[in-house]
């Protein structure tokens, strides 16, 4: 039996022609990791709010900082993208939308819809008129 090092590998990414659906797939994992890191900040905000007016009162000032706004903007984009693409995955899981034509179309839809949703959220949302 071959050792672990020289067992035959399944065809790896490099044998496939590059397609944008691959980028979308990588983006799903990337946004997931960003959201995981963001959840630390989310729990941090809850802890600040829980520890009373001093720390809780600083949140408003914190969210005035451009760098924090940029991070929050990035977090909401990741959330919208991961959400939309996650629903796309759930549709695949029930066995629909696998045909290349449909998968490519839903990919474009997810990408554009998450951009539009982020724009709309920051235009009308809690930071309306105060983007950066």
């Amino acid at each position: 039996m071959p050792s672990a090092a020289n067992r035959p590998l399944s065809p790896h990414l490099s044998v496939y022609r590059w397609q944008y659906t691959m980028a979308l797939s990588i983006l799903h994992r990337f946004t997931g990791v960003v959201l995981s890191i963001g959840s630390v900040a989310l729990v941090g905000c809850l802890l600040a709010l829980a520890s009373g007016p001093h720390w809780g009162g600083n949140l408003e000032g914190l969210f005035r900082l451009p760098i924090v706004r940029l991070a929050a903007l990035g977090w909401t984009y990741c959330l919208f993208y991961h959400f939309a693409n996650g629903v796309r995955h759930l549709v695949w899981d029930i066995g629909r939308g696998f045909e290349p034509k449909h998968a490519q179309l839903s990919g474009w839809f997810v990408f554009l819809a998450s951009l539009a949703a982020t724009g709309a959220y920051w235009w009308w949302g809690p930071f309306a008129g105060r983007i950066l």
């Binding site: 802890l47 709010l49 007016p53 909401t76 959330l79 959400f83 759930l90 899981d93 009308w124």
Partner: protein, 135 residues
């Protein structure tokens, strides 16, 4: 005789017990896959609810933030959102570590990720409990 469970034309090397248990070669079956899907389905309404709740805030001042989540219904949904998010996050980070990190770093990463997610969940839970009782 082993291996003729699915009819004469398909030969399976799986034992009848292994076939019945359905846990596969890793011994975990589809548990992780299902948990990821179920938490994802739960987040489909919870994540938009959270964003909508934030969007309906008049300001980000302390009183407004506090009032936003102090109602029992809001606090319940916030708890569900935070815990489901962290659970889904743990499942996802585990896959990323297993796929892209090797050796001792992978083991260390898996332990740190699991512990960090548990600590975050506890902190989130206690924070919400204090937010609800904050005057």
């Amino acid at each position: 005789m082993v291996g003729t469970l699915r009819g004469a034309d398909t030969v399976s090397l799986r034992t009848p017990l292994g076939h019945a248990e359905g846990l596969g070669s890793a011994g975990h079956g589809t548990g992780h896959w299902w948990a990821q899907r179920i938490s994802a389905v739960a987040l489909v309404p919870l994540a938009p609810w959270f964003l909508w709740r934030l969007a309906s805030l008049p300001t980000l001042l302390y009183e407004d933030l506090l009032n936003c989540f102090q109602g029992l219904g809001d606090a319940t949904l916030l708890t569900a959102f935070v815990l489901t998010l962290l659970y889904h996050s743990e499942l996802g980070v585990r896959v990323v570590l297993e796929d892209y990190v090797g050796g001792g770093l992978r083991v260390a990463g898996l332990i740190v990720s699991r512990l960090a997610h548990v600590v975050l969940a506890l902190a989130g839970l206690l924070a919400i409990a204090r937010i609800v009782t904050q005057v």
